[in-house]
Symmetry: C2
Subunit: 157 residues, 2 copies
């Protein structure tokens, strides 16, 4: 449900900026800068920053962190009615988790040529063989998200 | 490293029985009976039961539970040198997580015709395009694992 006078595309950009802020915080803390925002209608249900290094948890990608937080807040594992915004195309783990959690829609910023699993290497999140499929939109603020990643890896070299 | 006089196949069966025990406990607690055992050499590093319903966590598959517990015990997200035993072929989320965690090998019992992502629908865990690949063996105590699932779903009908 967009705000007055706001197009669906403008709404996507507005929520992606929230995910980008989470990505920036991850980068400042030493994790690869990827961030996610889980949105229900006009409500921000949960935020996820990539926390793999901080938590030494191989599953702590931004998407998983946001899904687990959203389910904990709802008190149930079904996340119907939500949209996940994430700054990088999800990997196989995260794409699979989005399907399992029955998230309605996925909006991502930059494609991931190495591990992207919703468009690039596989199309896991809208495969007709699975019992749930997400609506998917990509390329929302992709350049800002990609630049954040490039800057992070340049600084580490 | 197999025990004296034990073949590699016998070793797989021995550890799969540990995973099957975890699957049984999951079923008794009302969760779909899937269990996992994360093994390092001859040491059981972590156990995972499917806890989705108990925890209302969409990501709490047996494999993810075991990987997170193993990483927490090691104090690092890399799980090189480990083998994951699981009673059902991993889904996309779990297959992706096994790759991310750099687990050496995966041994599963029953194939999953609906969502299996290491052999059935996709081959995510040994794809040459990814930066890590697992050694995979299937069909270890498959009938016992499948019967456990059938009995669970029959009782629920």
């Amino acid at each position: 449900m967009p705000s007055r006078g706001e197009t669906a595309g403008e709404r996507d950009v507005r929520w992606m900026r929230v995910a980008l802020e989470a990505a920036r915080r991850a980068g400042e803390a030493g994790d690869v800068p990827v961030g996610a925002a889980l949105v229900e209608g006009e409500r921000l249900l949960a935020i996820g920053e990539n926390r793999r290094e901080r938590d030494q948890d191989p599953t702590a990608h931004a998407e998983i962190v946001a899904l687990r937080a959203g389910a904990a807040l709802r008190g149930r594992w079904h996340l119907e009615g939500t949209t996940l915004y994430v700054t990088l195309e999800p990997c196989a783990m995260c794409a699979g988790a989005l399907v399992l959690a029955r998230v309605d829609a996925l909006v991502f910023a930059a494609a991931d040529p190495r591990a992207g699993a919703v468009r690039t290497l596989w199309r896991i999140a809208d495969d007709p063989r699975l019992n749930h499929r997400l609506e998917i939109r990509g390329d929302v603020l992709a350049e800002e998200a990609a630049e954040l990643l490039r800057r992070f890896f340049r600084a580490r070299r």
